[in-house]
């Protein structure tokens, strides 16, 4: 089994024989066997050198970097072993063709909203929100251009977030979604969770021949790996939001796990660890796939989404996004 390693300490990471060796400032030493690494997530201040990068490169291991606040700042994305020029050409063609692009962009939103509604259904007092969301969603067929689609998505998201206060317990409230900087605990969790998910999705895209820079819902120039943003739309409500409800309502995370300094709110290292622990648990949770007749983990569902997208792009099978049925 391969693991994601999350490193919170500061120190040095280097190649030592056939392992990755971590030496922290408080002189803790750890060996990570290369075969056991799926990806690395560095939250602390870590020194590393090209020898290590070359080593990770040959195993196709991505390193994700997070800034001081715990938000994604970038990835070391090793050169791919397997590329498909054929697929890339098709990926671009679907971007250039307005209708094709709009079709895919809509699918991502339809799936994302489906999972939002699925979340809300688990709780009482959310009926009105669900109705409003479904009303907004019914206009989606008529939408002629991406910005209009983004408009619908934005309105739906506002309704969805305002429902959070009917769901969250123990004094947690979400007043308004605030991205930069997130200034209250719930906003912090949403941003933090989405950051981690983004890097997970990128890791799954990396394992396929898809080019992560060519996207449909998001403009390919907005962020370096914008396809990762596209696919994250599907999984944010399915994975991250349900985890936020779970960790807060079951008191896994408490208000004490957050620090507010002036205008900035921070999730403590302990808090991050707790959230990531639940996140990893969730990713490895399996569901019996009704078509494949196999147990499939949440992480694999991300990869399957990539596969379906590839099949669509090579004109094999029309893309139908995931709509969690369990």
């Amino acid at each position: 089994m391969k693991h994601n390693y999350y490193i919170f300490k500061s120190g040095r990471l280097k190649r030592k024989d056939n392992t990755v060796f971590l030496e922290t400032i408080d002189e803790e030493r750890k060996y990570l066997p290369i075969e056991s690494i799926d990806s690395l997530h560095l939250f602390g201040e870590i020194d590393l050198n090209t020898k290590l990068l070359n080593y990770l490169n040959s195993y196709g291991i991505i390193i994700n970097f997070y800034n001081y606040y715990g938000y994604y700042s970038g990835s070391y994305y090793p050169r791919k072993q397997q590329v498909s020029g054929y697929l890339l050409v098709n990926q671009v063609q679907h971007y250039l063709n307005k209708e094709e692009r709009l079709f895919l962009a809509k699918q991502f939103i339809i799936s994302g909203v489906f999972h939002m509604v699925r979340n809300l259904r688990h709780y009482e007092n959310t009926k009105e929100y669900i109705e409003t969301i479904n009303r907004e969603l019914s206009d989606i067929d008529e939408v002629p251009v991406i910005p209009a689609l983004m408009g619908i998505e934005g309105r739906i998201r506002n309704v969805y977030y305002s429902a959070f206060n009917s769901i969250l317990k123990h004094g947690f409230l979400l007043n308004k979604r605030e991205k930069r900087p997130p200034n209250d605990p719930v906003n912090v969790l949403i941003s933090f969770g989405n950051s981690i998910l983004y890097s997970t999705v990128l890791g799954e895209i990396y394992k396929t021949q898809l080019d992560p820079t060519v996207s449909y819902l998001h403009e390919p120039s907005t962020r370096r790996f914008s396809l990762s943003l596209d696919l994250s739309e599907i999984f944010k409500p399915l994975i991250i939001d349900s985890l936020i409800f779970y960790t807060i309502n079951n008191k896994i995370l408490n208000l004490e796990d957050f620090d507010s300094k002036e205008e900035i709110c921070l999730l403590s290292e302990e808090g991050k660890k707790k959230f990531i622990k639940e996140y990893e648990k969730k990713l490895s949770t399996t569901v019996k796939h009704r078509k494949l007749k196999r147990s499939v983990s949440y992480r694999s569902f991300i990869k399957l989404e990539c596969y379906k997208l590839i099949k669509h792009l090579i004109d094999d099978e029309l893309y139908k996004p995931l709509k969690a049925w369990w």
């Binding site: 397997q82 590329v83 498909s84 020029g85 054929y86 697929l87 394992k207 021949q209 796939h289 009704r290 078509k291 494949l292 694999s300 990869k303 399957l304 596969y307 379906k308 590839i310 099949k311 090579i314 004109d315 094999d316 099978e317 139908k320 996004p321 995931l322 709509k323 049925w325």
Partner: protein, 175 residues
């Protein structure tokens, strides 16, 4: 009409895939391959590396298209784990023999099935040659196609690296 070998020749692995699954052939040709960390792949590699440590010539590349395991005297030899994919293995060797014949080299072939300790001999008959020519024409047609051949239910799909890729599908939710 004369069969124009130069136009139709492909890598040996593609002849093999053609007889395994036409969809796999197309996907492989387009560079769409699946991550496969399965032990079967690794085992295959080890068998190749350990089976004939003393043979003089191992893994010879011909024209960048054929990778022949061993050439010894009149024989080219291929090493396989088991005879599960007997037909496609046989056709791959037959293709090598046919290819060599085009270069003016006449050989015979053997496949060494390590697990079963069985050796199979292959000679290039006229029938086999025709089968290869047909396959090469078909292969080129398939590779020219804009989309992959539809998946077929084959007995080994479940063990194929493309299984999840081929079979993943969304059913409509009941409402």
């Amino acid at each position: 009409m004369e069969f124009d070998f130069q136009t139709f020749k492909v890598q040996g692995i593609k002849v093999n895939y053609y007889f395994v699954c036409k969809r796999k052939l197309w996907l492989y040709d387009k560079g769409i391959s699946m991550e496969n960390e399965s032990d079967a792949v690794l085992e295959g590699k080890l068998i190749h590396e350990n089976s004939y440590p003393k043979a003089k010539t191992r893994e010879i590349m011909i024209d960048d298209l054929l990778k022949v395991d061993i050439i010894e005297g009149d024989y080219i030899k291929d090493v396989k784990k088991s005879s599960k994919m007997r037909r496609s293995d046989t056709m791959q060797i037959a293709y090598y023999l046919f290819y060599l014949k085009q270069l003016g080299v006449m050989k015979k072939g053997t496949i060494n099935y390590v697990r079963e300790r069985k050796i199979e001999k292959i000679e290039l008959t006229e029938d086999l040659e025709n089968e290869i020519k047909n396959a090469l024409l078909e292969i080129n047609k398939i590779l020219d196609s804009k989309k992959p051949p539809r998946r077929e239910k084959l007995p080994y799909c479940k063990k194929c690296a493309y299984y999840l890729f081929c079979y993943v599908e969304e059913l409509d939710n009941e409402t």
